[in-house]
């Protein structure tokens, strides 16, 4: 099945909106084992729309068209489709009544402009949209089914999941028998990961995919077909063994999500003292509803005075070892943990750059500590030639991973590929 996508809308074409819909659709299809083959982005010009529908429908089997289903005059996907096929727009009575009901139920007067959303090309099959006022529809032209979807992201996602995928399953016999395992890694580049995993003999139906999601590379292991799915656990085990400590989470979108999940379930409390990571560790956890149940506080103690006055770091330690040292982060972690007697505390202090480095401690030097009720662990890592943003996000990832390993009862400090420690 040859799948293509046509994205419409002046805002998307002109870069006023970054097209995350296109990436989401392609990614979602890939997880079903269907590759996106081609994508065209056009603005709100009727002729461009008509031409692209006619032209691409000669090549593809299915085309997802996104956007242009709204009530305003620059929403013209239905009109363009009707013209491309040489047919009229016809009112879909079912959808008009649905809209009238919807506005009545919400005690709102329906603007006249919304009536337009019920007019579809004569040969169109209406596609339900229970979460918005724009129905979808599909039309066969030349070789292809064109499947029209709304531009609002959550409406698009709902329609792809509930309507589009069942449609292609039925129409093209797309198989349901696929499975997917995801690993989140740190420290490896994409080509080193591929090299490391090249020794695995992949059976038919199993494929590896890589996705950069800094500071991580995500590895996806797809299995298609019943036999491949039976072999998936063995391949997953081999990948885990070859990558060792580079794997920091399995089947989670981010390492912060992994930590949130574990802390939320466990009832343990956490405090954080951040210097170079600047609140990143704290704010990534606070993104999750429910984080208030375990997070006592996250203190960004940027100045030395703040480390002393807020965290109770002994000024002598700062004088003797400097702000970026294992001694200082240990004192920071122990200090922030003690304020509310939290179960765990994380602390970071480093030189994120672009300035502030020295010969002894160049840009990218970061000290990280984990304090528990029993003791404290620390390490100082080197992240040369990384951007300020990447130094910070890699440091946060290493800190999270120290806590993750402690929560699992594993060794807290381990070697990550291409993240050397100072003095090594």
């Amino acid at each position: 099945m040859k799948l293509e996508m046509i994205c419409t809308g002046e805002e998307v074409l002109s870069g006023q909106i970054i097209d995350t819909n296109a990436a989401w659709v392609a990614n979602t299809m890939m997880e079903l084992g269907i590759e996106m083959q081609y994508r065209v982005t056009v603005g709100d010009r009727l002729d461009d729309l008509i031409n692209v529908f006619q032209e691409r429908s000669m090549h593809a089997d299915v085309i997802i068209v996104n956007g242009g289903l709204g009530p305003t005059s620059d929403d013209m996907s239905a009109l363009a489709m009707a013209k491309a096929k040489g047919e009229e727009l016809v009112e879909n009575v079912q959808w008009r009544e649905h809209l009238q009901d919807w506005f009545a139920r919400n005690n709102r007067v329906m603007p006249k402009s919304n009536l337009k959303q019920a007019w579809l090309p004569a040969s169109a099959v209406m596609v339900d949209n229970p979460v918005g006022t724009a129905c979808g529809f599909r039309v066969k032209l030349n070789n292809a089914w064109l499947f029209f979807t709304p531009g609002v992201p959550h409406e698009l996602k709902h329609m792809i999941r509930e309507q589009f995928i069942p449609f292609i399953r039925q129409e093209f016999g797309v198989q349901d028998i696929s499975a997917l395992e995801k690993f989140l890694t740190i420290g490896y580049g994409e080509s080193s990961l591929a090299d490391t995993l090249s020794s695995i003999a992949l059976p038919a139906g199993i494929e590896l995919g890589y996705r950069s999601s800094m500071p991580h590379i995500e590895i996806k292991i797809f299995a298609r077909g019943e036999k491949a799915i039976r072999q998936l656990p063995d391949i997953t085990k081999q990948v885990r063994a070859l990558l060792g400590s580079a794997v920091v989470a399995e089947n989670r979108p981010t390492l912060a999500a992994e930590i949130h999940h574990r802390l939320y379930q466990s009832g343990f409390s956490l405090s954080v003292a951040e210097s170079c990571t600047g609140g990143m560790i704290t704010s990534q956890l606070i993104d999750f509803p429910g984080s208030s149940s375990y997070l006592h506080h996250g203190l960004v103690t940027y100045s030395n005075e703040s480390k002393v006055n807020v965290l109770g770091v002994n000024p002598q330690i700062l004088d003797d070892h400097g702000a970026v040292s294992v001694q200082t982060v240990e004192a920071m972690a122990q200090g922030v943990r003690a304020i509310l007697d939290s179960d765990f505390a994380l602390a970071t202090s480093g030189i994120a750059g672009p300035d502030g480095g020295s010969d002894d401690k160049p840009v990218g030097t970061v000290a990280i500590a984990l304090a528990t009720k029993e003791g404290v662990y620390s390490q100082m890592i080197k992240l040369p030639r990384r951007s300020r943003q990447l130094v910070r996000s890699l440091s946060a990832a290493v800190a999270y991973d120290m806590l993750r390993r402690e929560l699992l009862g594993e060794e807290v400090i381990v070697d990550y590929p291409s993240i050397p420690r100072c003095g090594e």
Copy 2:
């Protein structure tokens, strides 16, 4: 001049990478007054590339091709262009020598694969890339100049600014006489902004554009031509007057950038105590190198115990008024300011949702305070029906704006459109 773009690369097509290059290019061109007309995204299949070069070169005057200039076998933009034009690849000696020099200067052995990057279509004009190993090039085919650029974002941006824009200025006489003013607003939706500004009679050559960049809407005022540029200050003044307090920054990408710039210049120091904003105020400032010169600390005191123990909030205030109250945020701001006697302090406490609201203080209720050496200002705002993320980012924006107004000597607390205060 009809401008199009062709984005290449399997990762972009399959959604493994969100295509921010495409948005950046279209946006940059729009600021020059040139609209992007059409965009195609193709993978790393030679036939697709050849076909799309041949087909789109019939329609466009200029096509920016992005990606596929690297050293590996799936980088095939040059080969596809040569085949599309029916010519050979020829080694560009100048670029080969440049690569050899570059590796020698960096004491590195040049991998053989890099030699490929010097092979260009026979009729190509080489385009310099001082920041990477992939040179660009341009080729005339049918009606169009195809201009090939590297996929690495900072290399692309450099080449567009330093090479592509001068080229189209010379080749197509694109005028340099344009000017742009940008306003960052809060509180208005895009359609209310357009309604509010519809009373302005725009002279020929002046256009308004809107861009959603939550929690802000950015307004751009373009002027094209000498006469329009002379009229720009007057239009800008009218926009400013009509929007009033909704404008929170001019010609800055974000409100955090505005605050960073003002604090960095002024020498004043800042401390932050955050509850519902969860570190957002602090971390947006720490994104800027140099923020350590004014930021004392940012304390995310999520629990009541932390507000008491770290900030010195009187427990009686929490008992009497609750954590989300003007009394509590005032005590938080005064407390965090006092620790290091900072010039200014900001504090937030609110209910970001989706749970945790009450009849009295529903989800979206947020208290915000600014403490100075002389006193304290506070307000409690209502942000119903917003996502957790938007409640947090709007609250951070209001807090920044209170500080911005104080730094300018303006009234600190003002009405924003569609952000009511509690008790109003």
